[in-house]
Structures are given as C-alpha cells and as structure tokens.
C-alpha cells in the first residue's frame, strides 16, 4: 500500500495562512491503514489547526470529512457540496488524492497535508518500511523475492557493495542490507546460482525515467 506521513504542522499552517474556511479531507484507503490520513487523523489535525489559529488570533473554520477513496473521480462527488462553502481544501490523502482534488475542484486551491513517502507495508504495528519502487520491470524472481531496487540504498542489481556489514547497509545501522537478505533467501531456497549470473543494465524506461507512465487496457475501456 501507499505509505504517507503528515507534513510538519508549520508547513500546513503556512499553506493555510490566507484562508478562513477550509475543507479538511481524509481518505479511507491506504492512508487510513497507515494511520496518516483517516477519519481519526482528520479530527486530530483539525483540532490542531484550529488551536494554532485561535492562539494566533486568526481563527479558521474547518469542515471535516473523510472520502471513501480520494483516487477515484466518482468518490469526489462526496466532497462536492462541502467544497461550495470553503475557500480551499487541505487533503490528507496521498499525492494522487490531492491531485484529483485539484483537478475536480479546479477553481479552489488544494493543499497537501501529507508527504507521500513510499510503497510499503507495516513491518509491525507502527513501523512501516519500503518494499517496492514501482520500476515497471519486476526482478523479484531473480532476487529471492526481495527487491534490490527499492531496498538497496544504491539499487544495485549484482550483489552487495563493499559497505555491507553484519547484514546492515553502510548508510545506517537501521537499514538492512537488501543483498544480505537476498543472499540468505536464495541460500534458503537453494538458488544461490542466481547470483553468479550478471544482471545486465536495467531498462529504466519502464520506470519514471521513461516519462509519466500510462496503461491503456482496451479490453477494459467502456
């Protein structure tokens, strides 16, 4: 799922400085699950903004709402009425949701309340880690089901660099060396020979480097 975290409150307050009434829109999908932008966070953030503005002698009115999903045009309908009475929207969905807000309510500013961080999973409750870089050309079958693009600090494809020590990455003791994980896993499933093959230079064209990506499925188009 998409993992996000709240922007520093100072940044949010700065964005909202010109406004007296806004919609604070949460999203019921990924950001609810990663506890960054669900209905609970909408309530807490709204209180926080109101308090800060009251303290500054410049109160703000906040309409609170959580959309089913901010990444579907149909669900934008849910915010239609609320948007009529506000000057702007602060969306605490991922970047996709903020953009769809901006696109749907074209005449009003849409501000991001979150930093969309990565594609990952909760390693344990409250600890989220990156797992996929959406490179558009999956190599997990070669690397024991552990992604070197997303999980190696240098996205190396042919094994660990010299900085791998005791299973940790050179950049931090908190980061596992992806290639150590790959080595261990390939060893466990008896596929170490995968490592002797040189993986040729990656075709990054399928990644962001090939320009904004688009998938058209004629079979699905209505």
């Amino acid at each position: 799922m998409i993992i996000a975290e709240q922007k520093p409150i100072e940044e949010i307050l700065e964005m909202l400085a010109p406004h007296k009434k806004i919609l604070l829109a949460g999203c019921g999908a990924c950001v609810t699950v990663c506890q960054a932008g669900g209905e609970k966070e909408v309530g807490v953030l709204a209180s926080q903004i109101r308090m800060a503005r009251k303290e500054a002698g410049n109160p703000i009115e906040i309409v609170e709402m959580t959309l089913t999903r901010q990444c579907e045009p149909e669900f934008m309908e849910e915010a239609k009425d609320a948007m009529k009475d506000v000057e702007a929207v602060l969306s605490i969905a991922c970047g996709i949701g903020v953009q769809l807000m901006a696109q749907t309510f074209y005449d009003k500013p849409a501000y991001p309340g979150l930093n969309t961080t990565f594609l990952g999973l909760p390693e344990e409750h409250g600890v989220f880690t990156e797992r996929c870089a959406a490179c558009g050309n999956c190599v997990l079958h070669l690397t024991g089901g552990i992604c070197p693009i997303a999980r190696c600090s240098k996205s190396l494809l042919n094994g660990p660099c010299g900085g791998s020590q005791n299973g940790k990455c050179e950049i931090s003791q908190d980061v596992d060396c992806a290639w150590q994980l790959i080595y261990d896993r390939l060893k466990a499933i008896g596929k170490l020979e995968n490592l002797t093959e040189i993986i040729p230079p990656k075709k990054w064209i399928t990644s962001r480097d090939g320009g904004p990506r688009k998938i058209v499925r004629e079979d699905l188009r209505i």
Partner: protein
C-alpha cells in the same frame, strides 16, 4: 480566565482514575473549580481525538488518570494512553504551545489524596507557564 481558574479536563479510567476521584470526594478534598471529569472504561480509551477536542474547545489542560504500568485490566491500555499523550505533547510543542497542557497520571484507585495533589500540581505548572 486560565490562570485564575483553569479548566482541566480529566479523563479517568473506571478502574483507577474514577475510584480515585470518588475517593477524593469522599475525603472532602478540595478539587479545582474548573475540573471536568470524564469517565472512560480504560485509560486506553483516552483517544487522541478526545484530548485534542478538549484543548480545541478551550481546556487549559487535559489529564489522563489511568492505572500504573502492569496494572491495566486490559493489558496495555495505560501504556497506549501514555504513548498517545507523549505523541500529542510533541504536536503541541510544534504549535508553540506548552506540552504541559497534557499529562499522563498513573494513580491508584484508593488514592484520592494523590488525585487531588496531581490536579494541584498541574495548576501550579499552568500558573508558572502563563
């Protein structure tokens, strides 16, 4: 207003905070005029939303009275409450507000004296802050 007679919202766990409050009443201890007591089934029910709402509505302080560590009937409700309080303290600081506005107070059910003391302490802290 605030410093004169601060409004303190006390979320009180049914297992500890509430009995301590009742105990304080039965002892005839003086409790602050601005005290608002909200009973909750477990300290862990003191939601971030409740706490922020209380401050947003104008409370000068929010206190969560819960059980001591290891005593929670629901295993970790009190620990969750304490972590939440610490998290919200951080958020208050970022707003330029005093983190002392939210306190986690473990209290024994039969200790009304402590309950009253903690309230008094918080009032002192608030006075110093303003």
């Amino acid at each position: 207003m605030g410093s004169e007679n601060p409004k303190i919202v006390a979320f009180c766990c049914e297992e500890s905070g509430m009995p301590a409050y009742e105990h304080a009443l039965s002892l005839g201890l003086e409790l602050p005029e601005g005290l608002r007591v909200i009973a909750i089934p477990c300290g862990g029910k003191a939601e971030t939303g409740y706490i922020m709402k209380a401050l947003d509505e104008g409370a000068d302080a929010v206190m969560v009275f819960a059980c001591y560590e290891g005593n929670c009937k629901y295993v970790r409700g009190n620990i969750r409450a304490e972590k939440r309080v610490n998290y919200l303290k951080g958020r208050l600081e970022k707003l330029g507000l005093s983190p002392e506005k939210i306190v986690f107070c473990p209290v024994a059910p039969a200790n009304g004296v402590r309950f009253a003391e903690l309230l008094q302490q918080e009032i002192e802290v608030l006075r110093k802050g303003t």
